[in-house]
């Protein structure tokens, strides 16, 4: 049986080809830590997690800590680890857990839809019906121009989905979801082989031409739009906006043709992975984020690992492929079988820890990549999958960006604060000065170094 495609991918993504790109990060280009990149990844898993002794996301006082609870330990304070969180033990001083956080805007969204606002905190039931800008895009608006790609938006199912059934975490603003990319080969080519074999001069000439054509097209489209009624005009705005932003992108791409592409060997690579190999697939997506960060192709990424509304995708069967669970993955959230719930969380933890490990084992400046990358990992539900309060939230990395780790923080009862407070701190860590985000009331002093 021929498995060489498999080797190709693993060697390339794990070391081989990437070794070629390392000089970019070490030595030549940047020496002092002031110019080293500050990065952020927002990642999301669906259906909440197993919290047997405290299904509302807050442990019940008179029960012992469950060895398979998603929470590594019962009480706030120094982190200790249980079976479910064991993969994170090596990162004890690089991670924090947060209990009692959520987005008020998601409360009334319904148990199958609150993932829509995980990265935005928008009040979709009330005044922000078409969602709003996500945290990664806020950062990208400030620093995106420094890299070839302002941000990288990934997901396992691809596209934007629809309201209440989002397939992406990232939004430019109200009514402007960014479709997530889910095909590894396509993502890889986009990052490292954007000219598809054409020479730089040819690409530049093409871009120049494209820019002038798009200008004419925009004019032509305006005359179309002007003849429509007001509702339809607004609908066609999306189109005009798209051309405008493509024009900007063309300019930007053109500028970037003056800088060399990261030296990653793209020849003959096949990195397509089927959803039927969940671990391979998820790790491949994590690898791509890692590669994009490592080559400084972008500094802000979102990765929708799962969505609640996946019954028409193979994601519906992830737990079956990964663990042999006899049922839809969504059933684990509802039935919470003791034997699979913990294992499923543990499986997810292993994948995420794999990513953290890759960052941590890559030296950068006087630390590691993890020290300069803020990684959010969480869901929009606790154990009770229809509940939209008290999310499971883990934050990792960013020790050199002013974050301190090693604890579980509890914001329950009268200590409750919005999740958006953490977002504010994350944005500050990546040098994005905001006073507030969504319903935030302040930043989160607990993790400020």
């Amino acid at each position: 049986m021929n498995k060489s495609w498999h080797l190709d991918r693993r060697t390339l993504l794990k070391g081989g080809g990437v070794a070629l790109a390392l000089p970019l990060l070490q030595g030549m280009v940047r020496a002092d830590s002031a110019t080293l990149p500050k990065r952020m990844l927002v990642s999301y898993f669906a259906y909440g997690a197993y919290m047997p002794h405290g299904t509302a996301g807050i442990p019940v006082a008179d029960k012992p800590h469950h060895e398979w609870s998603w929470w590594p330990c019962k009480d706030a304070g120094e982190l200790t680890f249980n079976k479910s969180s064991a993969p994170f033990e090596p990162f004890k001083n690089d991670i924090s857990y947060f209990r009692g956080l959520d987005h008020q805007g998601g409360w009334a969204l319904g148990g199958h839809s609150s993932g829509d606002v995980f990265a935005t905190g928008a009040d979709m039931v009330g005044k922000e019906k078409t969602n709003n800008i996500s945290i990664d895009q806020v950062a990208a608006n400030t620093h995106g121009h420094k890299t070839r790609y302002a941000s990288l938006v990934l997901g396992t199912e691809g596209g934007t989905g629809s309201y209440g059934r989002s397939k992406t975490l990232s939004h430019r603003g109200p009514g402007r979801p960014i479709p997530s990319l889910n095909k590894p080969q396509e993502i890889f080519n986009g990052l490292f082989n954007p000219y598809a074999g054409r020479g730089v001069e040819q690409v530049r000439a093409g871009l120049k031409r494209e820019s002038s054509i798009l200008d004419l097209l925009l004019e032509h489209s305006r005359s179309f739009q002007n003849k429509l009624g007001s509702h339809d005009q607004r609908k066609v705005d999306e189109y005009l906006e798209s051309i405008r932003s493509l024009e900007k992108r063309v300019e930007r791409t053109s500028e970037w043709t003056h800088k060399p592409l990261p030296n990653v060997d793209t020849k003959g690579l096949n990195i397509e992975v089927s959803h039927k190999d969940p671990q391979e697939y998820i790790r491949c997506m994590y690898d791509l984020v890692y590669l994009a960060f490592q080559t400084d192709s972008t500094r802000f990424a979102s990765l929708m690992l799962e969505s609640e509304q996946s019954s028409d995708s193979e994601m519906w069967n992830y737990a079956t492929y990964a663990l042999g669970y006899k049922g839809a993955t969504h059933d684990i959230a509802h039935k919470r079988p003791a034997d699979f719930s913990g294992q499923w969380d543990r499986w997810r933890a292993e994948q995420h820890a794999y990513f953290l490990e890759r960052l941590k084992s890559t030296a950068e400046g006087d630390g590691t990549m993890l020290d300069r990358t803020v990684v959010l990992w969480g869901s929009a539900h606790p154990h009770a999958s229809h509940s939209t309060k008290n999310y499971p939230i883990q934050l990792a990395g960013g020790s050199h960006l002013g974050l301190i780790h090693g604890k579980l923080h509890s914001f329950t009862g009268d200590r409750k604060v919005p999740l958006a407070n953490l977002f504010v701190s994350m944005l500050h860590a990546v040098d994005t000065p905001v006073d507030s985000f969504a319903d935030s009331t302040s930043d989160m002093t607990e993790i400020r170094g």
Binding site: M1, K3, W5, H6, T55, W107, G110, G111, H112, S113, G158, G159, S162, K167, G175, I178, P179, A205, R209, I213, L216, L217, E219, H220, S221, F224, Q225, K227, L228, G229, H231, D232, K235, E238, Y239, E241, S242, S245, L246, R249, G268, N270, E272, V273, S274, S311, D312, W316, K326, G327, A328, D331, A333, H334, K335, A384, S385, H386, S387, T388
Partner: protein, 840 residues
């Protein structure tokens, strides 16, 4: 609302005690209606805690409630469907009910006349429409959908709804790439291309387990046979190809024909689940090896996935293509364990392929017709190139925009041509780029109201065409529009009738429509429990992947989608009553499906109408595998899923999502949730917990009558006794179908309970009783639902209260023609709704 309940109560009293307040200045609510509402509705719909938030009491709030026409519409629908007043309240006399309904409808009608529409109707083409339109525009098959961001999916809704259809820079960029890809194929270079040919022959000798080296068995064959494929190393980058094969079939007694499928793409012998293929075609073989015949397949090379070449010594090998032959015959014994061993493969029908030939590109003349259709022959090309370019643009744009274009519009693109021509190496390249821009302009990509009154009929032609074909209007529709001969009822009728005779396009429409209407797509992802259903999926019998599902081969699940689509097509083409979706005396089956359902005597791979006996568990779509599997867990039926489906897809109710603060049922079972709650126990919990009961009392009963249909869509009236240990399936003793049947009989001993009491108090036992009940009591709701779905799909928007009077009208008209499906579609196309919002 700032009134306390006490104050509200006072207001009610005072309202009833005084003269009727005016409803609007000129239209008071009739006194009789006021009395009706206060007698029958006010008990529950009162004050701050009014049920559903609909407060129908005090003078001021009566106004408030009905100020929102939405509420008026909801009240109308609830009374009409006899949901209100509920069964435990005092019933409304039929006279009063009619009086209330007619007042509500009258009020809705008056308001709808004045109301401005608030929804956008401008929307981009869906991916489905986009691909079809490009196909018809350039005149050959294109495969573009895979490169576009996925259109959103929402259960029971249509993705052509304007609000759903988003556009962003990423999408736009993909459209740009797709447009360039299409134009690269459509316009060729002047010099004829190099022709690539590959030919392979297979000899009958060298048998393996009795199978000759030129044969394709149902379980495949060993290496170097047509079953493992034929490599094509040299092929053009695009253009039409032809594959010719000489083939025949070895048919056992009683088998008349076998399906042979050709797929093109990656080499399927590699052990990976990410190999990509596309079918080229399926033929039926009935000729024997002593009378071999030559068959021809055609396709376009750029529509098929090529396998990237490997890197050897740092050099990339050329890309590859592989043609693989698949014998799709299935008489229900494919999953007999150990069946792959000799002599079973030789006992089954086999295809014989003597030789196969790949040739490409093929063309009748050079340049090919799809090229000359755009860059037509003309002396102008030599004498006045600018004039020629303008004419090319005008012809192309007239079709791309589905209406005559203005001189000004043509000139805009001529300008684009002027910019790109000096920068590109050839005239052809410049035209490709210019025309690609036409394909990303909003006039091509969007459905929008037509701003020029003279183009009204063109807009109507598009509306008809995108509704019934999912593509641009054909010559005949455009000609009718040009002559202003489209809008009359008679002409609409003629065109609709004509359009619906186009079998392949109508099937595409019904596939796209039904998949969304019935929310079928989740069918494919329900995890079938292999231990319970060891014979349903096709499993790999040996090797490293033994026991996993056979990839790259159509499954019974795929045929089930076809079953539903062809069923709808049969109703449509024979103009049968749409109520037959509930029950019918026929089913659309092929041999594998018939075997699955236990219907004897069906041969062949193509779906065919099969007459059902009166007591058959099949008939209608309620008992089709596509529905039953999609709404099950893969291990067991799921009465709640099935109930939601029935109420949404068939009865047209909107079933709310479980509210956010109500925990999922099984969560409430706490730590012992996993200790086997049967569905019966779960439902019982629903009834006991008040927060669940409010919704589930009106939901669960609709799903229980389906219980005798199992998780793989088969009728299964017996189950294992609950709580007993069932002896497991063993391939040694139960490997073949007879043994499997004996096994099922030995474990399934208990009658399945499918009895329920509907919210209306009617007792129902099993699906046949439910079907009769639906036909007797709910036929107008069922008809209204399908009419609403079809109309919403046709208009590309969600229907609102404004549409209720028009829909009422349509339902009544449809009833006059016995709800016959084709007539009903004609009525929709003739309706005022269909002709509205053509202009901005």
């Amino acid at each position: 609302m700032q009134y306390s309940r006490y104050v509200v109560a006072l207001l009610v009293v005072s309202w009833l005690g005084t003269t009727a307040p005016a409803f609007g200045a000129e239209r008071p609510i009739p006194k009789s209606i006021q009395t009706l509402i206060s007698n029958h509705c006010a008990d529950c719909h009162q004050g701050e805690n009014a049920q559903q938030g609909i407060d129908l009491t005090s003078s001021s709030t009566l106004l408030t409630a009905f100020e929102h026409s939405d509420t008026l519409d909801r009240v109308y629908s609830a009374v009409k469907r006899r949901k209100m007043p509920p069964t435990d309240a005092a019933p409304l006399s039929e006279g009063n009910r009619q009086a209330l309904l007619s007042w509500l409808l009258q009020e809705l009608t008056i308001r709808a006349k004045d109301a401005e529409p608030t929804q956008p109707v401008a929307r981009r083409l869906t991916n489905f429409e986009y691909q079809n339109t490009i196909r018809d525009l350039v005149g050959f098959e294109v495969n573009l959908i895979e490169d576009l961001p996925k259109d959103p999916i929402a259960p029971y809704r249509f993705n052509n709804t304007a609000e759903f259809m988003r556009m962003g820079p990423e999408q736009f960029n993909r459209y740009l790439e797709a447009a360039r890809k299409v134009m690269a194929s459509a316009i060729v270079n002047p010099e004829p291309p190099e022709i690539h040919k590959t030919r392979v022959e297979w000899q009958p000798h060298g048998t393996d387990r009795g199978l000759g080296a030129d044969e394709v068995g149902v379980w495949g064959n060993r290496r170097n046979t047509p079953a493992t494929g034929m490599g094509v190393r040299s092929f053009p980058p695009n253009g039409e190809f032809r594959i010719r094969i000489q083939a025949s079939a070895i048919l056992p007694q009683g088998v008349k024909e076998i399906p042979l499928r050709l797929v093109l793409g990656y080499n399927l012998n590699e052990n990976s689940s990410t190999l990509r293929i596309r079918p080229v075609g399926t033929i039926s073989l009935s000729n024997t090896p002593d009378a071999p015949q030559v068959f021809e397949f055609r396709g376009r090379i750029e529509n098929f996935p090529t396998q990237p070449g490997r890197v050897v010594n740092d050099k990339r090998q050329p890309d590859r293509l592989t043609i693989t032959f698949q014998n799709l015959y299935d008489d229900g014994t494919l999953n007999d364990d150990q069946a792959f061993l000799s002599p079973r493969n030789i006992a089954m029908p086999r295809a014989v392929i003597n030789w196969a030939e790949f040739e490409g590109p093929v063309f009748d003349s050079w340049p090919p017709s799809h090229h000359t259709r755009i860059l037509f022959e003309s002396p102008l090309r030599e004498t006045d190139l600018n004039q020629y370019v303008a004419m090319v643009l005008e012809r192309f744009m007239n079709r791309a925009y589905r209406r005559p274009v203005s001189e000004e519009e043509v000139q805009r693109f001529a300008k684009i041509y002027d910019i790109v021509r000096p920068q590109l190496p050839s005239f052809e390249a410049a035209m490709r780029e210019t025309l690609a821009m036409v394909l990303v302009s909003p006039q091509f990509m969007y459905h929008a109201p037509e701003s020029d009154d003279a183009h009204r009929d063109y807009a109507l032609a598009s509306r008809l065409s995108y509704f019934l074909w999912g593509t641009m209007p054909d010559e005949s529709l455009l000609a009718a529009a040009a002559n202003n001969q489209l809008s009359s009822a008679k002409n609409i009728n003629n065109h609709v009738q004509r359009m619906l005779t186009d079998r392949s396009r109508t099937l595409q429409f019904l596939d796209n429509f039904s998949t969304q209407w019935l929310s079928l797509s989740k069918l494919h992802t329900v995890p079938i429990n292999r231990e319970l259903f060891p014979r349903f999926l096709y499993y790999v019998a040996r090797g490293e992947r033994a026991g996993t599902e056979v990839p790259y081969r159509p499954t019974i699940r795929d045929y089930m989608v076809d079953e539903t689509v062809h069923f709808m097509h049969d109703l449509l083409s024979r103009n049968q009553s749409l109520l037959q979706i509930v029950d019918s005396d026929f089913a659309m089956l092929n041999q594998p499906l018939a075997y699955h359902y236990g219907i004897p005597g069906v041969q062949g791979h193509n779906l065919q109408r099969v007459k059902l006996p009166p007591d058959s568990p099949l008939g209608g779509i309620l008992s089709q595998g596509s529905i039953l599997i999609a709404n099950s867990t893969g291990s067991a039926p799921h009465p709640i899923y099935r109930a939601v489906w029935l109420r949404e897809a068939i009865l047209g109710d909107e079933v709310p999502e479980p509210p956010a603060d109500v925990p999922a049922l099984s969560d409430t079972a706490g730590e012992s949730a996993d200790s086997a709650l049967t569905i019966g126990q779960l439902l019982k919990q629903h009834r006991q917990k008040e927060s669940c009961n409010a919704c589930h009392a009106s939901l669960d009963p609709w799903g229980l009558p389906f219980e005798r249909y199992n998780s793989i869509g088969r009728f299964q009236p017996l189950n294992p006794r609950e709580g007993t240990r069932v002896s497991p399936y063993s391939s040694n003793t139960h490997g073949d179908m007879a043994g499997y049947q004996r096994y099922l009989e030995s474990i399934n001993t208990e009658e399945v309970v499918a009895r329920t009491i509907l919210p209306t108090g009617v007792e129902i036992d099993g699906l046949p009783e439910l079907k009769s009940h639906l036909i007797d009591q709910h036929s107008s709701s069922i008809a209204e639902n399908l009419i609403r779905r079809l109309t919403g799909y046709a208009l590309g928007r969600e229907l609102t209260w404004r549409d209720t009077p028009a829909i009422e009208n349509l339902v009544n008209q449809s009833k006059q023609v016995d709800y016959n499906l084709r007539d009903t579609i004609v009525l929709i196309c003739q309706s005022e709704l269909f002709h509205a919002q053509i202009l901005p």
